[in-house]
Symmetry: C2
């Protein structure tokens, strides 16, 4: 392609809206243009990156027998009502853009396609003999984000690959899920990216198991914990670990300890010669369920550890029949005044009394008490005495009359071990989620009545998995992982072009002729070649080539008359003189190295 | 690909919703599935057709230097307000789906992209030196059609290729428009379609010139008129021709002719021994303008000819400064009673008096009198005497005091000649519009303030063209043109697969082995091959293969043991025995024939 044909329009300064480097470089390099909040045009360079990623995805998915299709973007409300998601996605969280047509029928702009594909599968699949089958598409999705930001990372209109598999048994689903996991690893490797696959929480999508694929990058919004050997990796929502050991605690003579104004763990340790591992802190939450139950929760954890709210959320959902819809810290003063009597904040103990719950409150009248393993394993410990300015020495958990649920409700931390043998410790990195795979089970097929006849002749709900890749997000994450001070340094696999030809003076007939000859030769060999045919100074062309990040470069300058050009690599910044007879061979050799 | 992987689900009976054969076959063959009114899922077979068409488009457009990009589908209201189209597309005609986001900002779901691309071009292009440039995309578009029907022909969510070119001069626009015209011809030819390019009316899009590309098919909604030699082609809205000659009229002695109850041309001819070419009929219209002017129109045309309302519409728009927004026949009784006195319907003459327009009416008080050339060329003629049951002999137009505008306001007809030498007569066919190209001029750049500095250093509005292809419509039109009683007969260029392998009994190990060998061999040679690996009766497989219309077929049956198979073509229904050593060669030869 010719630079003059798109035409290239780079910006000298980064637009002020760009908060992270990849967003800045996409705008500066003319890859994307903002049309509205969270809504971008993909300019020719960007579309080439998207198409390269798409081809890599297509290739890998076809290997495991997936079929590509294209589902509509406008979804009738009735379909989402069947799955029970219409209200939550529109009036509720408001994530789904929605509209009414000229007949006043409601439609949503699809953020995801479980409903549509499940209905279609139910119409096509009658028998277990037709299974398994996996459909996928690469398509624009919509999300009315509360705070669109970071360019394509959290946009309102973006491109995803979403796939859906259907199975006759749970075990077949699990087998296919493993295949897809391997496929995802290949896809990201073939895109030239360093990624980590982590165990993840299934969250709102539901299902038995899920895994996220993260591009490691400092600007990532997610925390990943993993071992150096790769034996374990999970995101922070899901990660489990063994916390460091607690220090033994000396026996206290008196049970009550005066701790005036010592509201933080730090203060208590300092003034009483204690270690944070010897303290149990109690944090209060309120769980709100679909059936309107409001459950007050007292969560106990060791003083040096941190609560993982997702784990509490999932625990409650597992224990109770009704669906938990919200979990929030009890910290709002008016809510406390209304529902609790004289709560001694900063001095809470695990045996906080049920009596302090106001009889007229709409809350349940008993604390749901949950203790993290880090706390439950302590023989003796210090905690609040449920009285302002007083802590207490608890000789053992057994001495308490209350009922406690013991569970893992703790964030794993860097440095924690993954097993008792203490051989492998966790490392923490920031990551950008670019893929997510789920074992959905029968959640959607049950709601949408998608059945098949199984091998026993009975009707059964389809077993289902779903598999997403954020295509535009992946493209931007690749920049987050691959850039320098001069601009983008694309992995060659997804670069818009493999090589750029830069005649330093395109008006010079010798340079022009040689440039065009090389251009044609590279095109003939099916190499994605760009020629900077602008009537611009060489410096401008070099700067632009650095910014847009094409992996290789041929400079056609004064030595053109001797059939000599310069060849260089964007990442290595090396520069060698080459006779034009060898230029194709050198490029092929160098780019092969890069593919590996 | 394997039939079991998608899986193929054909229907025995055509769904009742399908009105035309192509829609019926798409549903029956499992190409598409209806999700809502005018909204379809493109199943794997269909997506392959769409992708083949897209590749053909990409190849041709890149040859003339077009750059592919992808623009957003959600457009902020402000952008369409700038071009003045928001109201008309939403509250007005209601063609554009629209919604409000969580911040209560209005957005439209794009049916077309002139606004977005013009703004982007205005940001990128500063100087005439950067021109010309042409961007295009292949993307889902949305239209809230009043009556969605015919499957993908008039859907509410469909795929289009839309391109937009920018130029520094009008002449450069015209040169590029010609290139695009040629490119379109190549695209449709390369899709294996018979199309006719016709001069078309620019309509609501506006601009200097436009051309439509039609797939000829009996079910087409549009009428095309063309000469056998191809020297002339236009759609009926635009076509001009020379009507057949009128019969000479004898001089009448008395001026007034009593014609009781002879309200039709046919009756008048019959009872008075006249020919329809000797009569002038007068039809009344009301034109409503943007500035609220309501203009009564008396349109005169020869008795055997028909009024072309588009031509009247364009004529008025050319003459008057205000924009004509509606043109309708005056036939509503209450409107007639309110605005006109005793109008002698069926007996109207060209000299109908201005006096009959009610002084209290909001209409203009003078008829706009327009005479088609077919009528104006008549020396003497018969027309209404503006009195019930009376016609009149008009000795000449000159004898009338009224002012007449003479213009072409007539539909061309089959059999009309295109020039006075009477060498070429018009043929009429029905067609399906699949492409449309426009010279837009400066219409959008002016409204959106998209300027560049021209070669004289002055600021000038960009010159612009736009170019559409209905991709999903083209796919369906191809079926309308290529089918038989058994199903679709795809042109090989856009068929989802080039060839299908049908083992008559896939459980037979010899057949299975041979089928898989041929499958692998064809795949290795980059041939799009489908294998029907179902455990189904041969009859079912043959029927499905006929229905889905794959151009070539290899049947692996009992002769597999002798390494012999049968080779046949979908269109010719020929059947030959072939040794498997020759099968690839035979396919390549036969398919080459089909590509030509």
């Amino acid at each position: 392609m010719r630079v003059t044909s798109f035409p290239l329009k780079t910006l000298r300064d980064a637009p002020s809206e760009a908060e992270i480097i990849s967003h800045k470089l996409l705008l500066q390099g003319g890859y994307i243009r903002r049309v509205s909040s969270g809504i971008y045009a993909y300019m020719p360079l960007m579309l080439r990156v998207i198409e390269k990623i798409s081809v890599i995805i297509d290739k890998e998915l076809s290997k495991i027998g997936c079929s590509k299709l294209l589902l509509p973007q406008l979804h009738p409300c009735e379909l989402w009502e069947k799955s029970g998601r219409w209200e939550g996605y529109t009036a509720g969280e408001g994530i789904m853009f929605n509209l009414r047509d000229r007949q006043d029928r409601a439609y949503g702009l699809a953020p995801t396609h479980e409903e549509v594909i499940t209905i279609i599968a139910s119409e096509i699949i009658n028998s277990y003999k037709q299974l398994p089958v996996c459909y996928y598409q690469i398509q624009t999705k919509f999300r009315d984000e509360i705070r669109p930001r970071f360019g394509l990372m959290r946009g309102r209109e973006f491109i995803m690959k979403d796939g859906y598999s259907f199975h006759s048994t749970e075990s077949d689903l699990k087998i296919f899920y493993k295949k897809m996991e391997k496929s995802y690893e290949n896809i990201f490797k073939n895109c030239g990216l360093e990624t980590i696959g982590v165990d993840a929480d299934s969250g709102a999508i539901g299902g038995a198991a899920s895994k996220e694929f993260m591009v490691t990058a400092n600007s990532g919004e997610d925390s990943i914990l993993f071992t150096k050997s790769g034996s374990y990796a999970a995101n922070i929502e899901k990660a489990v670990s063994i916390p460091k050991e607690s220090k033994p605690i000396k026996e206290f003579e008196q049970t009550l300890i005066q701790t005036p104004n010592q509201k933080t763990i730090e203060d208590i340790c300092k003034f009483n010669n204690l270690d944070a591992t010897q303290i149990v802190k109690v944090i209060l939450y309120l769980g709100e369920f679909e059936d309107n139950t409001k459950l007050p929760i007292a969560a106990c954890i060791r003083g040096d550890q941190y609560i993982n709210e997702i784990k509490i959320f999932n625990l409650l959902n597992n224990i109770y029949d009704s669906k938990l819809i919200n979990l929030s810290k009890i910290e709002n003063k008016s809510s406390i005044n209304k529902n609790l009597f004289g709560i001694p904040m900063g001095y809470l103990g695990p045996d906080i009394s049920d009596e302090i719950i106001n009889k007229n409150s709409l809350w349940e009248k008993q604390w749901f008490r949950v203790v993290d393993y880090s706390a439950s394993k302590l023989e003796s410990f210090i905690s609040g005495a449920n009285k302002i300015n007083v802590h207490r020495y608890f000789k053992s958990w057994k001495s308490l009359d209350n009922t406690f649920i013991t569970s893992d409700i703790r964030n794993a931390q860097e440095g924690d071990f993954i097993s008792k043998d203490k051989e492998e410790a966790l490392i923490e990195k920031k990551g950008i989620e670019i893929g997510h795979i789920f074992q959905l089970g029968q959640k959607y097929s049950e709601k949408l009545n998608a059945k098949f006849s199984n091998s026993d002749g009975g009707l059964e709900n389809l077993w289902m998995g779903c598999y997403g890749i954020g295509v535009t997000r992946l493209a931007q994450a690749a920049i987050e992982q691959n850039h320098d001070n001069d601009g983008i340094v694309w992995p060659i696999q997804i670069a818009p072009f493999n090589i750029v030809l830069i005649p330093t003076n395109f008006k010079d007939p010798i340079q022009k002729k040689l440039s065009e000859e090389i251009y044609i030769e590279f095109q003939k060999n099916n190499i994605d070649v760009l020629i900077d045919d602008r009537d611009e100074r060489a410096g401008v062309k070099f700067k632009d080539a650095d910014l847009i990040g094409i992996p290789f470069r041929i400079i056609i300058g004064r030595d053109a008359i001797n059939n000599q050009v310069e060849f260089s690599s964007r990442s290595k910044k090396s520069n060698i003189k080459v006779s034009i007879n060898n230029i194709l061979k050198i490029f092929i050799n160098e780019s092969k190295l890069m593919y590996n």
